[in-house]
């Protein structure tokens, strides 16, 4: 990049982005509806019960899932529970400060929980070992290693891929003694009923809608809409018509055509991400 352009980028960041977006391109050369290259690696963390590493351009998120046994919650004796936690350490970006989880981290954690539960990716009843006595708890830790925008898409991809990688040890109730026995040598893959895929679109100054924002673009977007498709798996087919979560942040107003555009961006992008997850899983089984 020429020196003058670099100076302009640092001193007038908003005008720099505006020049590109008004011409229908992005500052990194992508078109408005073009996504960054995504890479998924399954099982990088050998000590975890399921793990995945996702690189969405420069945004890198690692997800590690640990299983624990615990008594189920009192109001839901037939269900286990899932505890997702998004961690944004200072190592990922200068925007993140050391200390308690920031607002972005807490909001992302809550959204991950909603995505997993509402897409019915994992049914909490499948995590029950013995009603009222014992259940599985999935602690899902999502750590952002490098932040370059579009955290939600990367986290959803990492969480979905890591959940597909989880194997539950066989747990059964001994009929004679009534005790609960867990056999760590026999493992069964977790029953994944759907694979949620998130697609984030942003709007700049009311008119220009673009997908997969980078960190520089996120700062100047007037609003961001994340659409998550649920993609239920039935047999060998995947139904990718349904949306399970839509979340808008940012104060800008959005009209109905733009919402429709965001939803169709989500639906168009979903098959690509699903095939990426699928091929990563097949490679890991080999």
């Amino acid at each position: 990049m020429s020196e003058v352009a670099n100076i302009y980028r640092i001193t007038q960041p908003r005008e720099y982005q505006k020049k590109f977006l008004e011409a229908g391109v992005r500052s990194d050369g992508r078109k408005l509806d073009e996504f960054r290259e995504a890479l998924i690696g399954i099982g990088p963390v050998s000590t975890a019960d399921g793990s995945a590493l996702v690189a969405l351009g420069e945004t890198k998120v690692i997800c590690g899932i640990k299983l624990e046994v615990a008594p189920p919650k009192v109001d839901k004796p037939r269900c286990g529970y899932i505890v997702p936690n998004v961690d944004l350490p200072p190592l990922a970006s200068s925007d993140f400060r050391p200390g308690p989880p920031s607002e972005l981290a807490q909001v992302s954690s809550q959204l991950m929980l909603e995505i997993v539960l509402k897409s019915k990716c994992v049914l909490l009843e499948d995590l029950c070992i013995a009603e009222g006595r014992m259940c599985w708890v999935l602690y899902c830790d999502l750590i952002c290693l490098n932040y370059d925008g579009n955290l939600l898409d990367a986290c959803t991809m990492a969480l979905t891929a890591a959940l597909c990688n989880v194997k539950l040890p066989k747990a059964f109730v001994n009929e004679e003694t009534g005790a609960i026995e867990i056999d760590f040598k026999q493992k069964v893959p977790l029953n994944i009923r759907s694979r949620p895929v998130a697609t984030t679109s942003s709007v700049f100054e009311k008119e220009t809608l673009y997908v997969d924002p980078v960190r520089e673009e996120e700062k100047h977007a007037s609003l961001t809409v994340t659409v998550v498709t649920s993609n239920e798996i039935s047999g060998s087919t995947v139904d990718s018509d349904n949306i399970c979560v839509i979340h808008k942040t940012g104060g800008g107003s959005v009209n109905e055509e733009q919402i429709e555009q965001c939803i169709s961006n989500g639906r168009c992008h979903t098959p690509f991400v699903l095939s990426l997850i699928g091929s990563a899983l097949t490679k890991s089984e080999v």
């Binding site: 607002e103 807490q106 909001v107 954690s109 809550q110 959204l111 929980l113 909603e114 509402k118 897409s119 019915k120 007037s222 609003l223 809409v225 649920s230 018509d241 349904n242 949306i243 399970c244 979560v245 839509i246 979340h247 808008k248 942040t249 940012g250 104060g251 800008g252 107003s253 959005v254 009209n255 109905e256 919402i259 429709e260 939803i263 639906r267």
Partner: protein, 214 residues
């Protein structure tokens, strides 16, 4: 679809503006302080920073409450004329009095009333509607807690009064695209009642103030 909507303004004497908003059985008390001093970490050089705190009735605030705070803050960031008060903070505190469903819309509407009572400059008013799609595919506006728990999907939308554009949108639960669009249409037609309530209350408030000065 007869909903009980009621609001009382100015109940908190210390706050710059306050409202007690009731929607059927759900009620929230909102206090607004601002524009006021801001912590250097949260200071914005060109506009006011909106700080929203939501206090649940029982237990401590967790991630779920943080998401609600973020949604409220995003919604009003687009509506409050923050550019008029740079390097200040506008603090919005929402206290849950009772949550019997449709909490998000109760909060947004309550906050808007409190901001009006505090005379914080705004571009337009906001009307928020919660709707659910139940197991039979019926769309229900302002559901109860029970309806929210058993519904297939819950949708929270907030519209602004000038052009009817969507300022806040969050949905959770499986929906087809056409069902989602139907929900938006139904919500949009229900918010006129809330916009009307803003006008009625403001008229009452202004006439009361004018009367007391005489």
């Amino acid at each position: 679809m007869d909903q009980l909507l009621d609001v009382q303004l100015g109940l908190l004497r210390q706050a710059d503006g306050s409202s007690l908003f009731k929607l059927n059985s759900t009620s929230v008390m909102v206090g607004v302080y601002g524009p006021t001093e801001v912590k250097p970490a949260k200071e914005l050089s060109d506009r006011a920073s909106l700080e929203v705190t939501y206090k649940p009735k029982v237990k401590q605030a967790g991630c779920r409450e943080k998401l609600l705070e973020k949604n409220v803050q995003s919604a009003f960031d687009g509506v409050v004329l923050t550019e008029l008060h740079p390097r200040t903070a506008i603090q919005i505190i929402i206290q849950e009095l009772q949550d019997s469903g449709s909490l998000f819309s109760c909060c947004i509407n309550g906050v808007c009333f409190a901001l009006l009572d505090a005379c914080v400059p705004m571009r337009s008013t906001l009307a928020a509607v919660t709707c659910v799609v139940d197991s039979e595919g019926e769309i229900i506006i302002f559901p109860t807690k029970r309806q929210e728990e058993t519904a297939l999907a819950v949708l929270n939308v907030a519209f602004e009064s000038k052009e009817g554009a969507v300022i806040s949108l969050s949905s959770s639960g499986v929906l087809t695209k056409s069902k989602f669009q139907d929900c938006i249409t139904v919500c949009k037609s229900s918010c006129s009642k809330i916009f009307e309530l803003y006008r009625i209350k403001m008229r009452q408030l202004c006439t009361k103030n004018a009367g007391s000065e005489c």
